[in-house]
Amino acid sequence: MAIEIPKNLDGLPTSQRRFVGRRVRRREDPALLTGRTEFLDDIKLPRMLHCAVLRSPFPRARIESLDVTAAEALPGVEAVVTGEDARRWSHPAASSPDGWGGHCLAGDEVRLVGEPVAAVAAQSRAAAEDALEAIEIEYEPLDPIVDPFEAMKPESPLVDEAKGTNKMLDRVFTWGDVDAAFDAAPHVFRESFRWNRVGANPTETFGAICEWDPMSLELTVRGSIQSASHFGLGRAAVFGLPSNKVNVIATPHGGSFGGRGGTRCTDVACLLSRKAEGRPVKWIEDRMEYLTAGGSQAWDRHYEVELAVDADAKVTGLRVKLVDDLGANGEPYGAICAAKPLAAFTGPYAIPVAAYDLKLVATNKLPSSPYRGMGPPPHFFVLEQMMDIAARSLAIDPAEFRRKNFIPKDAFPYTIPSGNEYDSGDYEQVLDRALELADYAGLRRQQAEARAAGRLFGVGVASAIEPGVFDWNAYAIVGLPGTGVPEGATVNIDILGMISVRVGFAMEGQGQYTLVSQLAADYFGCELEAVRVVPMDTQSAPPSFGPGGSRLGVAITGAVLGACEKIRGKMTRVVAGLMQTEPENIVFRDGKFGIPGVEGASMSVAEVAGTMLARSDLLPPDIDPRPEATHVWTAAGRTEPDAQGRAKSYLTAAQSVHVVAVEIDPETGQTEILRYAVVDDCGTRLNPVVVQGQLEGSVAQGIGAALYEEYVYDDDAQPLTTTYMDYLIPTVNEIPELLRDEVVTPSPFTPLGAKGCGEGAIHTTPAAVLCAINDALAPLGARAREVPATPNRVWNWIQEAGDGNQTPQGEGSNG
């Protein structure tokens, strides 16, 4: 039976929509707020051991000797593993790009500070940490590879000798006749930029409890795991197990933001469990482990960018050169962050041609992980600064310059040069609302007064695209195979009409269980509380990827509504039989099956379910009597990438405009945010209160990246930001109150017209804040080309401008 998933809110079978699209409080919150949610560290299994990991203090060194006998002999110690065990019992991990993975414990050489070299399972974590001190290890330190530009030189030592190069990838992608566009352009602007390492910082660090069953040779991993099914496949490959013998039970997470890497130490705990004859081993990553060697770091980028602009102030070409320092291996899949900009390479602008010169480089730093936004935020930071450089040079208001270059609203669906297709939008309307909300004209007047008084007051206007509903094909250029990312849900109605929805992902904090409940409740016309959402382990769940890539809201909507439709179809047949008519005559609405115009011909969902399960005598022949259905949703119309990486990848393109006003203290280099306005269009808002939460959190993270957060290494590749005293996440004191508004252009391609919005404002915020800073600094001739714009950096830029030491502004002569 063909099913039809409603394309907009009016398509739901209800005359009074009570939940979907309304501000519904999150069902997850009462347990979270009262401390009743059971996180991984709350779980205690019988005979469970605790693990501690010995880590390399050197970024690059040879291990001369390693002796664990004294540690093994300590009271309470049940097992110790080293690189030898890893090589005997496991394979190197998969990676992106392919072949840049390793064993979970170092062999003869360590490649980063914090790399695991040995581990202990003991009766308590304290005993395990004590035992680490009894391990004897000698290193011969080697000169570390720190700078990616040095690393690319042929004479550089190698992070991994076997690879023969430090370049994980070195390719130029050309989309259209870029050279011709630049040759013809009367204006070409060039600039270089630096984005320093930032990354995810969930409240809960990573953790896992691993249980190796020596009898059945099955592995069970409980953990705060973001994509459980993929994590399970990865473990099966590492341990050479059939995929159906690895079961992953994802526990609720205290946030993620992409930082739930943790594979190496999970594998270490698996080895320990195997050595300890199957006793469960718990590994909890502490905060220093997370910051130095966990999934914490992303986006370590050096950019050179060129923008071609014609005589009408239309941008006609974009060239981006990126050197991305990925650290010591490709295991955490940080490389996909360099590929994802293909999904929105030219941002909200109608730029006809573009080129991407991409170099992924290995150094002796922590491997780069995904982080909220997955790579476009730095890309938009540079694109938006280029837009301002051009506007300033051409003496055009930055808002008007953007308006002039926006993709017009009648041009959708719109294919960008890098191949992706944007679904819908009305960028001018979003801009207009943002300018009005921020009182842009008033801000410019304030600025004129401030400047007259010698104060550094700046206004930034920035716009960006949030690609939503990720697809594997977006990452083909860094070696990920496949097109389409399935997400499944099983909806079950019991004999009394109560609804359960089984899903394949754990609670992560973004309200997806609430969304599932909203959908099922409005579909079947019941209360929110009548719907139970049940997370399943990977051996029982329908195909699922879970949260990530701004996809789950859209994908799970498709899955739940698809399953609901299937149940409706089945129940319609049952009801038609009972009412002695054809299924076409039965209408389902507001929780009731009936025949329009026939008084009394009406049955509730509970009555139908009860009939199906308790009155087989009344059912049509050949019907499966179970009021249950599974639907696996996957985005339609995705395409195989061509040789230049072009594909229809991300299904939706949300857009936003941020307007920010700042004042800079020239004595201290401090930036104060005076006003922050956001208008965004993410299509249908399935739960506006959840969208608001995502937006506010992502603005905060964007401000962190713009002004505060940075993982710092010294010249010897030693990490300096190993605690929250040095890695500075903005707090409520540093985040301004937002002025917010929205524009809604539903997606024509998705269930209910929703677009991905989970990563949100981090795409736009760093760009907008830096646009404002550059605007404030403009009268001094000082320029901000690096994030975070720390007080020290801003002060340096001001000093350099005063000394006349800055290289001249970016317009190059052409030809």
Binding site: D130, Y708, T723, L728, P730
Partner: protein
């Protein structure tokens, strides 16, 4: 992140604490609010064999007026100091500085004595103690002694306290009438340790500086008193130009400001100028215009 094994004692008297501390056979640390010591234990940077918790000793957290001077017990928490009307009235500089220390959660546990004994170069209290000529009452095996603030802070994380001594109380002498105080610090975020800060006092007579004091923190291993500039201010009419000159001289006079990922030595020198000027201006603005 678990500490190395240690023994724990919580004596109920200073005498007992002294006796535990004096035992040469076992390396002992005093525990106050634990806001600096416990992280160091967890990272195994500090590994004493025994902790002696001062938290059960009665009376060590008293805040009292003694003939006009303000005496604060070593175990008084920052929160209790922040909320004390007596402190606000008698020692406004100490009151103001307290609000800049970390966050309420940390001020709820962290103590005056802990901050003084820990002697972090970027901490507020040591600079305030120097600015206010505080006196430290300490007790050891051979009895009590008093140490002037100017002599208490020796270098980075090091004080004049001997290993077997306990800080009991800090006395802040009564402030002269008409004095104004000022405090300024520059942090990356609200509540962080300052990149640079300054505490100042000023008194005016007939529109001229009668005396002034400026003490910086975060710019050297210990609080830095700007003696020559204090001298220079005496008898001068406060003005923006004067304050800018004094601030510039203070910045230039710093020996070797530390550098880290938040602030280079040059930038710290610059911030030292800014906070000196701001603290001084605030002090003058509040001084009685007699």
């Amino acid at each position: 992140m678990k500490p190395a094994p240690f023994e724990y004692e919580a004596p109920s008297s200073v005498e007992e604490a002294l006796r535990l501390l004096a035992d040469p056979a076992i390396e002992t640390s005093l525990l106050a609010g634990g806001q600096s010591l416990v992280p160091a234990l967890n990272m195994r940077l500090a590994r004493p064999e025994r902790l002696v918790d001062l938290g059960r000793i009665e009376g060590l957290d008293a805040i009292r007026d003694e003939n006009g001077a303000l005496c604060i017990g070593a175990m008084a928490t920052k929160r209790s100091i922040e909320r004390s009307a007596l402190v606000a009235q008698k020692q406004p500089l100490l009151h103001e500085a307290t609000g800049h220390i970390a966050h309420p959660q940390i001020r709820n546990r962290g103590t005056l004595g802990g901050s003084m004994a820990h002697a972090d170069p970027a901490a507020e209290y040591p600079a305030v103690a120097v600015a206010l000529d505080a006196e430290f009452r300490v007790i050891g095996p051979s009895g009590e002694r008093r140490i002037a603030a100017a002599d208490f802070f020796v270098t980075y994380l090091t004080t004049a306290l001997a290993e077997d001594e306990i800080l009991l109380e800090v006395t802040f002498p009564e402030r002269p009438a008409g004095e104004g105080v000022g405090f300024a610090e520059i942090c990356r975020r609200h509540g962080d340790f300052a990149m640079a800060g300054a505490a100042a006092t000023a008194r005016l007579e007939a529109g001229r500086y009668q005396d002034a004091r400026i003490v910086l923190f975060g710019v050297d291993a210990t609080p830095v008193r700007a003696l020559s500039q204090e001298e220079r201010l005496r008898g001068e009419v406060p003005s923006e130009a004067l304050h800018a000159e004094v601030a510039a001289a203070i910045g230039a006079g710093l020996e070797e400001p530390p550098g880290d990922q938040h602030a280079s030595p040059e930038f710290r020198r610059q911030l030292a100028r800014t906070v000196s000027k701001r603290a001084l201006e605030a002090a003058v603005a509040r001084a009685a215009k007699a």
